[in-house]
Symmetry: C2
Subunit: 206 residues, 2 copies
């Protein structure tokens, strides 16, 4: 059995933002931040998981499909969950257990298609242990948002960081790497070149 | 004759820095900033232009050689020149005319191998016109530093921006895109994947 890898996969602008200015509840990507993810909205593999028909198969589609396939469980920050709770279709796109980092206990929420949200109040290591426990021979994805990914990076718990680098500037907003220990050691793992985005995957070296 | 293209080619950390903290005269790359350029120091095509023997041929070497070959003239900021003046070998690595943006008139400085430094006191457009005038069917490289590249970007005078993205964080320093108009429109032109750096070239769309 391949050991479970812990990975994150985020869109980022060329100037380092994962959300534009004025990000807040109800505007989680900030002003203009949806442009970061423009490349994915037409990808068939992504649309299918959102319950939408159509879309393109492409190299970007293979990257998206691969991440869906390898994720046997997810860990997610509370703010990302709050946004998604009202926005995801049923079945939600995960099709696997999702462990939500929160300070407020709540009963698990079972949705169609294999997605079960479980609320974890005792920290990032506990949530990751739970996710590992159910991922089987698959991997664990730290879904986001940026604050949650940073916590796992700084705790040395992330094995791979994938960045979907969008060829645009946002100029202001939330920077992925603000507050990440600059001693983080990364190696280029894989680069996938697409017309409208560059998929950069890095291994975290310990 | 192919129209002259105006390009810049800079190293950048994954968190967007072209120099580390405490960059100043005598420490132009800032603390740790030389790590951004680590990938190039072993490249044969780069070493040869610095008057150094040895080095590797690689995909990165092809990128370096291509930029040297296409540059028929250079434009450079004053601070970059000041650093290089005391550091470049003779012949310097340019082998072509270099127009230095400055406020202090000075006679041209002729060096071996085709490098002539000419000092331009009437602004970035004048310097670019001079460079275009001597580039022939080659292109003009805006050498840097970051402040100079930003000026050309914001004036709409740059056709291509190449970033050598190093898989590391600096955490503080000089960010390439600080102060660049976020309405800048870029398209992915070419991606070259190397083990220790990713060469990303963008077209500026007008």
């Amino acid at each position: 059995m391949t050991p479970t890898r812990v990975f994150a996969s985020l869109g980022m602008s060329l100037d380092g933002y994962v959300a534009g200015p004025h990000a807040r509840p109800g505007n989680p990507l900030g002003d203009g931040g949806a442009r970061i993810h423009q490349w994915v909205y037409g990808v068939e593999a992504w649309r299918r998981r959102q319950g939408m028909a159509g879309g393109e198969t492409s190299r970007s589609g293979l990257v998206v499909a691969e991440n869906f396939d390898r994720a046997g469980a997810y860990v997610m920050g509370r703010r990302m969950f709050d946004e998604g709770e009202v926005a995801w279709p049923d079945p939600p796109p995960f099709r696997a257990p999702v462990f939500v980092l929160t300070t407020t206990a709540r009963d698990p929420w079972v949705r169609q298609g294999g997605t079960v949200f479980t609320y974890v109040t005792d920290g990032i290591e506990a949530a990751l242990d739970l996710a590992r426990g159910v991922a089987g021979d698959k991997d664990v994805q730290i879904s986001g948002g940026a604050h949650t990914v940073r916590q796992y990076l700084n705790a040395g718990l992330l094995d791979e960081l994938e960045i979907h680098l969008a060829p645009l500037l946002l100029g202001d907003g939330i920077r992925l790497f603000d507050g990440v220990d600059p001693d983080l050691r990364l190696e280029v793992d894989r680069v996938v070149d697409a017309p409208d985005v560059t998929h950069l995957r890095y291994r975290v070296v310990r």
